[in-house]
Amino acid sequence: MSAEAVVTSGIATTLELSTPIVFGGLGGVLSERSGVLNIALEGMLLIGAFGYFAGAAATGSVFGGLAVAVASATASALLLAWLAVHAGADQVIAGMAVNLLASGLTDFLYQAIYGFAGTPPVPGMGAVGIPLLDRIPVVGASLFEQSLLTYVAFLAVPAVSFWLFRTRAGLHVLAVGERPEAADAAGLGVFKIRYLAVLASGVACGLGGAFILTQVNSFSSDMTAGVGYIALAAVIFGNWRPRGVLVAALLFGAFEALQSILQSLGLSVPYDLFLAVPYLVTIVAVSGFVGRVRAPQADGIPYVRN
């Protein structure tokens, strides 16, 4: 491979690997900024992936796949919201419950629906080139030859950031996530806002799951393989900010891309070590720069009125 080709494929792979982390991370930011700890990103991504598979197989269309992906991931978010906001359950346990349920349920449904018939073909989402820009030397073909969902993910970052920090609705989310009793006293609907924020994280995970599936166009058991946990790490590393999530996702994506490039060049690298990088970096971010990252104050604490 030429040096140019290595750079091009490195950037392209980084963006690909970052995309589901960005989706999951944005979902995590939305949910946790409202005060609902979201351990369930992994499960919601998995359900989104299965949803795309089932929807696209049934309708034969990409948009059918996307619709079912978003709907099913949002439904799982609804379950999380109900457990965490309504029932006041421990949010770590509620999130793990959703993850376990997602893993079991997608396996079961896959077996039940496609077990005998075999895997149907599903329409995928090929790369979409952006005219002109994709002809820029070296970076053009990597930056502007991506899946539609990758563009969506990267454009969603400034959009979510603007919404969270510049709009009235965003201010309400922040208020609820910092001190729900004060937000309540100010007349905000704490429960409603938390529900909607968690549902929004379901939408993001639906798109992220769909992206994961369209990378391979077939479903396999637990195919998200921990991306949701890496997204969770990106939320923390990114200090609960959309732009921070983007940086973290690119960093984690780049490390993984580097690993695969090294491997393709025939260099032997300890794969497991590379897998641990996101978590190690996050631990350093959390412990090394004390005070740099700080969770929303009410993150993970159910609100009970008296």
């Binding site: 009235r168 922040l174 910092e178 001190r179 006293a185 905000l188 009125r305 008296n306």
Partner: protein
Amino acid sequence: MRELQLIDIDKRFPPNVQACAGVSLTIRAGEVLALLGENGAGKTTLMRIASGVTRPDRGLILRDGEPLTLGSPRDAIGHGIGMVHQHFMLIPRLSVAENVVLGFEGEGRVLDRVRLSREVEHFSEKVGLRVDARRRVDELAVGEQQRVEIVRALYRGAEVLILDEPTAVLTPTETDGLFRVVREMAAAGKAVVFISHKLHEVSQIADRVVILRNGEVVAERPPTTPLGELAALMVGRPVEVPSRSEAVARGQVALELSGASSSGAPGLSEVSMVVGEGEIVGIAGVDGNGQVALEEVLAGVRPLSSGTLALGGSRLERVSPEAIRRLGLVRIPSERHRDGVVAPASVWENLLLFDLHRLGFARHGALRVRAARRRAEQLVAQYGIRCGSVDQSVGELSGGNQQKVVIARELAAEPSVVVAAQPTRGLDVGATAGVHESLLDHRARGGAVVLISADLDEICQLSDRVYVLYEGRVTGTAGPDERERIGRLMAGVAA
């Protein structure tokens, strides 16, 4: 609106605190109603019910005879009921402007923070309680936070405005400003409820005084009632105000600070002071003039950038909280909730927090729980702490009783120097008298007390000598009878 009636309100907190027991109260338009009562009498609970924050177990709320359902604060806001909360309902990581306008941001989905900040600042100047709209609330001193909490309630505009201890941390000038606004509101036909433990304020501002005790209304009086009578009604028996008995033999120098400077906003600059055994030295000053820095320097929590601290005649080389405590200096912290108690822990754990080892209640890493609880029970009896049992968590006690826990713990360590910072803030007359008595007892036993207080009455009543702190410097010393002079020094006027 002509009147808001609360009828037969009951509220019980688990397991068995009856905060309101059949309370009925009428709040009338055009008047200022003062609510008095001991710590834990149920004033806050009753008003939180009126503002929709807490749901009553039983009872009716009528607005001009029409029943209201207040399912949430939003409902109450809709009916024109606003409240300044004793425990501020502010969001620490948002700006002052965002806190003030939250839920009332006006038209438009996108926030125009510049416009909102300007609006909030204009408004705050108009009502005479200046706030810096751009700062984050968690950067503010407690007095500033109080101003924000008040400005917010006023900004929303209310037919019924409930003020729950709004003046506890305000300066006298700010209090005057607030009273002017309150009078204007009453004149404009609004109803105001005013809660305070400062009885002279009540007689100054109220049109009618209602007294609560143990969750019941026990009396209604005109504001001209003698303060002693109001105090007795609150507590249920006459309250004796302890006073400094003269002639405690002045002993050795117990504490000396020389040329001390520290960080802080403001920090200390070149502060020197001497405190002798058997005397109470008052540190007077308007809140935010270096009191927190002084308190923390003396407790060893905040390092000195220059200058020295000496205890019992020997200069401390390495200042640390442990070393200082070992040398016999204890602190009653001004931020009781943050530095004074571990709210979720039990009364006995809080009482013995620092002394488990010294008193032999911990052996080889294991607690001798039974013995420790017995010791705690003694302290509870000795200091008159009101709690269900020593196993109750401190967070559930009333403010006055939490403060008693702190004082009991610190004085039980048999200290030589007590640094008492704002020790009676938010406490009722009875609890205040109790704290004063403890400090005077310590003095009578030959102990030294540094009394840091923004309450000039308290300073003059207890101190043998007074230092005045202004912008982090000692600007003068005075005797306790030179009230006028102290007042001038506090205002930064050369005296």
